[in-house]
């Protein structure tokens, strides 16, 4: 990254981050035992769900117990054995009554007590809490949760990304910082950005094949002049620029197409969703992990429905003619585009097809201050309106009943020339006015506003939601986005600001600030924490009988599940209502996943409610209406996606590149350093030692650039693991095994140190490896493992076979690389001679052409070889 390309970050904040990071390195060592080694946690944030570290009660679990009061009305229920006892005695009695092994016991307040107990093996935490909650001395019991520092990116320009944070003065900020304590995304979640394409070379984005966030996409702009890349459909989603030169608009034959600079719109949108985060540069993304799938549907002056919808279908994995299959189908499609007019049949069909695959379309409302445009107005699409920093409608945003929710759209407050735009939405972009000229991040002077940028804020939130609960289909994802939104909308303190109204028509514009209502701006203001928490609830879905007859017994099955990492702990079926003379059905065993009831014998209906509860006490309900002819439910298993949607989305099995670390093994003496490198770009991985970001004083530390410093003393065990972890996908990890030694470094000596080998002849070499018990080496000729036919080959045991002809130059180097430490090797120089040395000269021979004397050719070859050897030694 070229730091000069980015606006300067506040140095004070940077220093603060460094101090904070240093503290974290120390604290990491303390908490490491509580974190799974596979979970990369650069700032020690909470795993999904804020669950207590132990998943079961074996081994010991920490609990907070609240004793019943010894006074007041609750005292009557107090166990007689507890009256007058100390807190320590109460804890001991509590453990004994509940057959717990009390490991630690500590009063916190007179009524709250911290304990660590050992319960019966296999008892789930939920079951234990339920059992202990029934103890006569206990008012409440809950896990002693492990809490983490809030996840704050180390990206220096994050401070300017007010919209992802929370603050009293910015009511519309979405509080992603608290959501990131639950999840920062999932490497398996793909969010498509259907836009102008993207700048793959932006250092805060980069290709997935080099460790970045951007998958290979596709270009669906079929009109060459609009595409501006020389062709129609192609496999390159790069944005070449969408500038329109003076007079070009009429050439393009597009009405209203006036001259303009390149927008880099897709790069801006992509950065808000998935800028590389924790890379110490640029901005942070709404998601830290997962991938962005860039799809070009827009070029100069925009794009046509035919290309855009082809891109939509392809994004969701639906085949499109003349385009190859999409290897990375998205679950979310961001469409920061549109224009006026009602939703067309084409969009309705595409959205329905995508919903059947569990794909949610998120679209911006438009910037005319009028009614919501297409595609944001289409049924099933999450239409996003723009709001100001204080939560009122930003003047330019379209609004109406089609809006699902609202998110910051950017507002400047200052409107004078040269004044900063105070609430710009900072993101990635390019400085080129025509062709790309250099990566930048927008700021208050090169500002970024529009409902285009409200949508990706919500798309990123949806990505976080799928990361914790991938089984949410498009409708459920949209419903929970709305459920988690902040409402009611704030009302301006300025009494002159009117309420927003539903536009009466295309020309009914409200181009200034107004107070949002749910009829105009959706369910509320996007709230990352609220929506991720909503996503964590289980999903109640029910399988209904295909047909129902009057008085027939019918079976209803709960098929919903819990969020990733959670489990369903219970089902319940209750009667909500009866109507039209229907009798209330007998519910029998109402706490099972399956219920058999009798349909009404005649007229009328009854409504049942299925409630699913998970082991974190989250619930979801589904109502089922049963008549004599049918059983129906909006939560019917047939009403969502037609494909299986797992709760835990797996990492991409076909990720574009495999991460590697070099060297793969090393022996490092105490107190010395060794540099490691990854196969990805430098700023796209973080380094760990034994699973701890940055390492520790005990096992060795490692810098952000991969420089490992061995500890001062040999740890026990002496072997540690240095790992590079992809920022974009923490499941992509590559490691090197490092042995810490107290002695000198590994060394390798090859014997003989030099040799002259005639073409086609062999020469054995040996390697002595010192200062390690691993004597294995890998033989190379001129750094090529095993050599080749031109330079000569070397066997695994060190036998060199000269090539059939003399190479140029005639000397080659044979080296033995220590398996214990790939940075250490020994070598020997070989001169390949033109003809075999006469055997008689070596052995004292027995006749033949030479007759016991060297012929002239051999002598010449030997002379040349010796001269070459001397030259090599001098060198």
């Amino acid at each position: 990254m070229n730091p000069g390309s980015f606006p300067a970050a506040g140095s004070g904040r940077t220093r603060g981050l460094r101090r904070w990071s240093a503290l974290l390195v120390v604290s990491c060592a303390l908490v490491s035992v509580l974190l799974p080694a596979s979970e990369y946690n650069p700032v020690r944030i909470a795993p999904a769900g804020n669950a207590p570290p132990p998943e079961s009660t074996t081994p010991g679990v920490r609990l907070m117990v609240q004793w019943r009061s010894e006074t007041g009305s609750a005292a009557a229920q107090l166990a007689p054995v507890s009256r007058g006892k100390s807190a320590i005695e109460r804890a001991a009695g509590f453990a004994a009554r509940n057959k717990l092994s009390l490991e630690t016991s500590r009063p916190i307040t007179p009524r709250w007590h911290a304990v660590q107990v050992q319960a019966a093996s296999g008892e789930s935490l939920g079951a234990l809490l339920q059992r202990l909650g029934a103890d006569p001395d206990v008012a409440a019991v809950e896990p002693d949760y492990w809490r983490y520092p809030h996840a704050t990116p180390n990206d220096p320009l994050f401070a300017g990304q007010w919209y992802l944070q929370k603050g009293a003065a910015t009511a519309s900020a979405v509080n992603a910082v608290d959501a990131w304590d639950i999840t920062q995304g999932n490497g398996g979640v793909v969010i498509a950005v259907l836009d102008t394409g993207v700048r793959y070379d932006h250092p805060d984005l980069l290709r997935a094949s080099e460790g970045g966030r951007l998958l290979p996409g596709f270009d669906f702009v079929s009109d060459v002049p609009i595409a501006n890349d020389g062709d129609g459909y192609d496999g390159d989603a790069s944005d070449p620029g969408d500038w329109v030169a003076a007079g070009e608009g009429s050439t393009l034959r597009i009405s209203g197409c006036s001259s303009s600079d390149s927008s880099w719109h897709g790069t801006r949108v992509s950065g808000m969703i998935g800028a590389l985060t924790q890379n110490g540069a640029g901005i942070g993304g709404g998601t830290w992990r997962g991938f962005v799938l860039p799809i070009r549907g827009l070029g100069k002056c925009g794009g046509f429905d035919s290309d855009i919808v082809a891109g939509m279908l392809w994004a969701g994995g639906i085949p499109v003619s003349s385009a190859p299959a999409n290897p990375y189908p998205a679950r979310i499609i961001n469409m920061s585009l549109g224009s006026a007019g009602a939703c067309t049949a084409l969009y309705r069909d595409a959205v329905a097809q995508l919903a059947a695959r569990g794909v949610l379309v998120v679209a911006s409302a438009g910037n005319e201050g009028g009614p919501v445009g297409t595609p944001a107005s289409c049924p099933g699409v999450a239409g996003i309106a723009g709001i100001r920093h204080v939560g009122t409608k930003v003047g330019f945003s379209n609004i109406g009943p089609e809006i699902a929710l609202s998110a910051p759209g950017g507002n400047c407050v200052n409107v004078g020339a040269g004044q900063p735009c105070l609430f710009s939405l900072d993101t990635t972009s390019d400085s080129g006015k025509t062709a790309p000229a250099g990566s930048i991040v927008t700021n208050q002077l090169q500002f970024n506003v529009g409902t285009s940028f409200s949508a990706p804020i919500v798309s990123a939130i949806a990505g976080l939601m799928l990361s914790v609960n991938g089984q949410l289909n498009a409708a459920q994802l949209l419903a929970r986005l709305r459920e988690g939104a902040t409402s009611p909308f704030p009302v301006s303190t300025d009494a002159a600001i009117p309420l927003c109204r539903v536009p009466a028509g295309r020309n009914d514009l409200q181009s200034t600030e107004c107070n949002c209502t749910t009829a105009t701006c959706g369910a509320g203001m996007a709230n990352a924490l609220g929506s991720v928490n909503a996503a964590l609830r289980p999903v109640a879905t029910v399988t209904l009988p295909a047909s129902v007859a009057a008085g027939q017994d019918l079976t209803l099955r709960a098929v919903g599940g819990a969020a990733c990492g959670r489990a369903v702990s219970g089902y319940s079926w209750t009667l909500v209502s009866t109507s039209g003379g229907a009798s209330a059905p007998g519910l029998g065993a109402a706490n099972t996943p399956q219920l058999t009831v009798t349909a009404p014998a005649g007229a009328g209906a009854y409504v049942l409610r299925l409630t699913v509860t998970d082991d974190a006490a989250g619930t979801d309900s589904a109502d089922i209406t049963v008549t004599a002819a049918a059983a129906t439910s909006p939560a019917a298993s047939t009403s969502g996606a037609s494909v299986a949607l797992p709760a835990c989305i797996a990492a991409l099995s076909n990720a574009p590149a495999i991460l590697g670390v070099s060297p793969a093994a090393a022996v490092v003496p105490v107190g010395t350093t060794r540099s490691f490198s990854s196969s990805f770009s430098a700023a796209t991985v973080t380094w760990q030692v034994n699973g701890i970001a940055g390492g520790s004083a005990t096992t060795g530390t490692i810098t952000a650039s991969g420089v490992f410093t061995a500890p001062a003393v040999v740890p026990a065990p002496a072997e540690v693991r240095v790992s590079a972890v992809s920022l974009a996908d923490s499941a992509r990890v590559a490691s090197a095994d490092v042995t810490i030694t107290s002695g000198p470094p590994v060394s390798v000596t090859v014997s003989p140190a030099s040799a002259s080998v005639p073409v086609g002849s062999t020469q054995p070499f040996s390697a002595a490896v010192a200062n390690t018990s691993n004597g294995s080496v890998v033989w190379r000729v001129n750094d090529i493992v095993g050599g080749n036919s031109t330079l000569g080959s070397v066997s695994a045991t060190g036998v060199y076979t000269a090539p059939a002809g003399v190479p140029t130059p005639a000397t080659v180097t044979i080296s033995a690389v220590a398996a214990a430490d790939a940075a250490q090797s020994g070598s020997a120089v070989i001169t390949v001679l033109a003809a075999p040395v006469a055997s008689a000269a070596v052995s004292g021979g027995s006749g033949g052409g030479g007759g016991g004397a060297l012929d002239a050719v051999t002598l010449l070859a030997l002379l040349l070889g010796l001269m070459a050897l001397r030259r090599t030694r001098r060198a």
Partner: protein, 142 residues
């Protein structure tokens, strides 16, 4: 294949000279032939054997037609010929979008500002469930 012409995005009422007509016809042909590498392209005209040079297209427009009966790879030439003759338009298929939708370039030789008459005839075509103009959408930044 490459598109060599501008998109037929708007109806272009014209009383153009022969050279303009030739250019329009060539552009239309270019669009039809260059609808993207490997894409199917079928062009049929209402009037048989009309020399391209004499075709005075007074309107051209790109539409998205929803087929009344889905066809996996688009409607095909004979089918389009029938429709084109009935609607008195020239049709070129640019692309099938799934089995239900097809992108068509429409042109006529009649004077038809905004292609309103041609669109009206196509919308009355029983083989189409709907016919909508391929609308330009724009990025929504400011």
């Amino acid at each position: 294949m490459r598109l060599t012409a501008a998109p037929l995005s708007d109806c272009r009422p014209s009383a153009r000279a022969l050279s303009s007509a030739i250019l329009s016809a060539l552009l239309l042909g270019g669009c039809a032939a260059g609808a993207g590498a490997g894409r199917s392209s079928t062009e049929v005209a209402a009037a048989d054997a009309v020399p391209v040079a004499r075709l005075e297209a007074s309107c051209s427009i790109r539409v998205i037609a929803e087929l009344a009966a889905p066809q996996p790879f688009g409607p095909g030439a004979p089918w389009l010929t029938d429709v084109a003759q009935r609607a008195n338009v020239r049709l070129a298929q640019r692309q099938a979008l799934g089995g239900r939708f097809v992108v068509l370039d429409v042109s006529t030789t009649e004077r038809d500002p905004g292609c309103r008459a041609a669109l009206g005839r196509l919308r009355n075509e029983p083989l189409f469930r709907s016919v909508e103009v391929d609308t330009l959408r724009r990025a929504q930044s400011r």
